[in-house]
Symmetry: C2
Subunit: 296 residues, 2 copies
Amino acid sequence: MTTAFIAVDWGTSSFRAAAMARDGAVLARVASGEGILKAAARGFEAVLFEEIAAIDAAGAPILLSGMIGSRNGWVEVPYARCPADAAALSAGAARMTVRGRALAFAPGLICDDESGRPDVMRGEETQIFGAVEGDATVVLPGTHSKWARFEGGRVVGFRSYMTGEMFAAMRHHTILGALAEGEADDAAAFADGARAGAADGALSHALFSARTMALTGRLSGRGVASYLSGLLIGAEIADGARRAGPGRPVVVVGEAGLAARYLAAGRALGVAMQAGPADAAFRGLARLAPSPGAVP
Amino acid sequence: MTTAFIAVDWGTSSFRAAAMARDGAVLARVASGEGILKAAARGFEAVLFEEIAAIDAAGAPILLSGMIGSRNGWVEVPYARCPADAAALSAGAARMTVRGRALAFAPGLICDDESGRPDVMRGEETQIFGAVEGDATVVLPGTHSKWARFEGGRVVGFRSYMTGEMFAAMRHHTILGALAEGEADDAAAFADGARAGAADGALSHALFSARTMALTGRLSGRGVASYLSGLLIGAEIADGARRAGPGRPVVVVGEAGLAARYLAAGRALGVAMQAGPADAAFRGLARLAPSPGAVP
């Protein structure tokens, strides 16, 4: 098959790209640590064409998503507002021509939560469209995890959770860090932490149990990091699952190891969750192309 | 009045002591930064007698509370279990004779929360007995805030919240820190943060609003730290107040500036709270003395 376009998933700390067929199939791929933080120094244009050189096809348009479209990226693309379908994302893309090539940067999404405060995502919106077609709740674990409701072909709303960043801050910059002995993966401690985080409505209280469980010998020092991870993920899942539409699949999209932790926490909590497809970002970029003949 | 005993409130980073009359009146006081972390190097005995020299009275017993009775202190005093009255604390004290003086170290308290996980306090139990006599909820803000239920002369249970430590970790070790411009006290941002923290049941989601509110221009960089502080305190108050017995006073005991922030957050949330007495630790130690004639 010939390359219809180049798909680029360009985040804060990683660069991934694929040569894509018209039907969304991945023909070839590259990946590196040239995220926007690192790439900014050398210039985004130079980095882009260097990184894709091995998979590039003359004249193919280039579709990009992720933090490359943020204030700290190449061009700041305004957020599209929820509810948003694929056409809205496509219409909101920023377009420019560079070295004779058509570039399109996907917009992020913005919505208001129940209390009227804004929430945002950038990059995950593309993964959502690549992960599901029918109604579902899509979970995108990470530094700032997202739970998105996908209904009728649209992202109708979503919530962010600072789970990953809180884990790092609590693990390394509080008294819990002093109790933790190493980063060994302790499945029992992780599951128990997930139950603790899900059972108590007050996260700042539940977190203290990592200390007291260790202090009273009910949790080993080697299990503290896993318990803490489970606790934060469990609190996120409990809140997200409570808000997910009943009977709809909960689909986890993300790096394999992290996705597996979410699925394990779901099992510990009795929340049915399933793994989403690989290459969600590339697949999503394919769906954002307005029509096969009009890429991008 | 003559000195009946010396009261010592000895925490992780501070040392406070008072010469006390038999009726619990403070006759003279000293304070320094000789907390247990610093004092350990020089030896607790030497530090104690140096620090109290200016207020000491020959032969007076010395009652101590706080982290000096912890694993990292002078002697590890086992936790007394809730519900606990003043007699139980007194009975659980560790006693020894040093330089011919009778020393008594108050025990901490331990209880189980609703999900059967342990919670602990050390030092706050003494403040509670010094703060109230009738039924009340006693709030002790700090690194690890405590909300204690005091009923029938006993501490029947309590919950810890990692509010202070989470603030420091989130303020200085997450993306929120990059958005915060200085530590100026912004009362409006603080109150709005308190409402955000109280309104949303998921703290890891609510915290993200500090970012998005700043990103969308609804919160200034100068207000981010106050908003974050309000958010964590608001979440704590919402959970604590929901569990407090209706109609009972909610009494805040602690350092004046921090207590004032809790009272301000309470006003923003419509939760009635009142300031407790000063010198709660010293007053509490007086109550732990089993009888006026039997100190300590």
